[in-house]
Symmetry: C2
């Protein structure tokens, strides 16, 4: 293997999704691309790992630009752990996740398998980026993402991200010439107001589908990822995996 950058790629939509094919085709310009991704869609899996069940991997051939690729029966986080600890010849220089079909901005980061894979990459001590396009369509047009993905890969290879921080990058559903550029943001305060659609199975028993409506609690704030996306920018949010609410520690010391 050439000693050029080693780039690990995964996603949560599955190894043959158009978004990950687009990502690997860009990444191969920067180094050796190793792909391991779920063998089926794993959207909404968050930071789940497989500990009550076994894992299997299989060589696949979806990515022309990868020097090796595997599908895995596990979650996106399992894929990163499996690659880093079992399959890769050395620690990767970059972990890329996506490009997800659908937004992972704001609070979606917490449910996102795509972003959890990137967070896991940063936990393993590697610069990591999750990419998502705000378009759930399987035939979504990823072409406008290329120049920005290239810029971010190039930047992360030149100056690695600090330990414990990864990037959450979301693309608006726009054409090249409609995008205003990159915008560094914070995660918007938002939530899903859920509804559970109740249906009857053919045997008369109830079952439920989780549905919901996204609500941005601060639509006016201009430093959030939601604002950036609505205003034609590619949003970039640095994400950390220290979940401690540091400013609240002192208050708690006085009340508990």
């Amino acid at each position: 293997m050439r000693q050029q950058p080693l780039i690990l790629i995964t996603n949560d939509d599955g190894i043959s999704a158009p978004g990950i094919l687009h990502l690997s085709s860009i990444a191969q310009k920067f180094g050796d691309v190793f792909v391991i991704a779920p063998d089926k869609p794993q959207s909404g899996m968050g930071h789940a790992i497989t500990i009550n069940s076994t894992l299997r991997i299989q060589k696949t051939a979806h990515h022309k630009s990868a020097y090796a690729e595997f599908s895995c029966t596990g979650t996106p986080v399992d894929c990163v752990k499996m690659a880093v600890n079992k399959l890769l010849p050395r620690k990767p220089d970059l972990v890329l996740s996506g490009i997800n079909h659908g937004s992972n901005s704001s609070i979606n980061v917490i449910y996102s398998g795509t972003m959890s894979a990137a967070i896991e990459g940063s936990l393993e001590g590697t610069s990591s980026v999750g990419f998502s396009l705000c378009d759930y369509d399987i035939n979504a047009d990823f072409s406008a993402t290329t120049v920005f993905v290239e810029k971010i890969i190039s930047s992360c290879l030149k100056e690695p991200l600090p330990k414990g921080i990864c990037l959450n990058v979301n693309f608006p559903k726009l054409k090249d010439d409609e995008i205003n550029g990159l915008k560094i943001c914070r995660q918007a305060k938002a939530n899903w107001v859920e509804d559970f659609e109740e249906r009857q199975d053919p045997y008369g028993r109830s079952y439920y589908w989780l549905t919901g409506k996204f609500v941005n609690f601060e639509p006016e704030a201009q430093d959030t990822d939601e604002w950036a996306l609505k205003n034609g920018y590619v949003s970039v949010v640095p994400i950390m995996h220290d979940f401690t609410a540091h400013p609240y520690i002192n208050h708690l010391k006085n009340t508990l």
Copy 2:
């Protein structure tokens, strides 16, 4: 229903686990207890939600102290969403998750279904606490937790936690008289060094079990949850769901 506090209880070990039975028996002293928990163990599920599949719920009768209880085919986060948006008569006053069989201190918070349920509770705008005992044994002794669980429930009902913050409470595996008290801490910098144990199935094909070794990167730091637990304290870490690495935003603005 009496208008006393409404307390929602869930976990990730499943609705009949000893830890959740102990928790509901304590909580009933403070209000009306509503239990909804997974119908099977969901450890390691992180913030996973069920969007590619359906959900079912079923009335159960494991908790003598609950006014209503349901098992759910989904994840811990699904349970909280289902309760808050579909089953409860009003917004709960408190969401409690656990008591987990096994530690959720430090980086374990990211993989933990128990803590994800608590984080989801805080996302829904309710004071939420996840409890875990550092003992994986199904026959673990939960008796030493009682007085601390009572203290924390009482405190959260008296003064609700700020929006967006929940508590991660871990108990050392010690007897009543061996515990030094509560200690407010931050999440220790730590990680799992994974190994994938490779085995052969009866048909000669490889499969893997995820295993690993926990490594605390800062064993000397006395303000972490790991230190507290090792030194006989109950650790309490305030956890937030804004994952933005705020201090890094300005640097990123200059480099990307």
